[in-house]
Symmetry: C2
Subunit: 154 residues, 2 copies
């Protein structure tokens, strides 16, 4: 396997997990910055052309002694019943890697100004990739999440 290396840090308005909007209908329109390490700047060449980016980051508050504590079943904020961790975006997963899709607003050197951050301030970044295509809405099934929404709307 490989040893993950930090490529930068998130600048976010959220200082604690309690501040991050969670649960059904949570909106993620907070603005923040992906602050990439100076020496990696050439890696950002041409990124301005993409409207949306996939950001991989570390749930670093879940780690102690290089090990992530994880649970195979957990109850997300969006439901009142447990689901398998791989059917959720919960933090306590075997590899503590988070994924967020953000809108790229502008780039200033190694600082990517983005909308849609749900990470905590100071979160270490692992990767940034262009978001290239979408699944058409009519082809997407959203499992327990759609069911939880339906229960809420009853």
């Amino acid at each position: 396997m490989f040893l993950p290396r930090v490529i930068g840090y998130v600048r976010s308005p959220y200082k604690s997990t309690q501040e991050v909007p969670k649960g059904l209908g949570a909106q993620h329109d907070a603005e923040g910055v992906l602050d990439i390490l100076q020496e990696l700047e050439p890696g950002l060449t041409d990124i301005e052309g993409f409207s949306h980016l996939i950001v991989l980051w570390v749930f670093d508050r879940q780690i102690s002694d290089g090990k992530a504590e994880f649970e195979l079943l957990g109850t997300p904020a969006s439901d009142d019943r447990p689901h398998g961790v791989f059917a959720t975006r919960l933090a306590r997963r075997p590899n503590p890697i988070g994924l967020t899709i953000v809108e790229l607003l502008r780039r200033e050197g190694t600082r990517l100004h983005v909308r849609g951050v749900d990470m905590l301030d100071g979160t270490p970044l692992l990767d940034v990739k262009p978001y290239l295509s979408s699944i058409p809405a009519e082809k997407l099934r959203r499992g327990w999440l759609a069911e939880a929404e339906a229960r809420r709307d009853q």
Copy 2:
């Protein structure tokens, strides 16, 4: 940081990178299996409800002595000019993590039968997450990739 752990392996028809469709207009409709470790089976609870999954995996052929060799600029198969690695899906990135969105066809215990694999057979898996929402096509800008397509179609 954390030490990545393998959660399973990809079963794919592709044995070498040369066999994986690449470049403009490449179709990824190959079927394969995400073979999750038996002891993680509870983590798959309720995953059947989702039509599409985000799969994180390791570019394991890029690693030697725990280090990934990377290049900040590279020329993808879909273009004839170089771009920053974070504006591409190229393999030689600071963290050798690949991302593929697959369609979940069915689950048999710890075996997830999926369509859309572009990984090599035996690729180690890091995470599986539900695909929850799409960026509407009219809001998506695809940077150099759209330009490369336009040049091809001239």
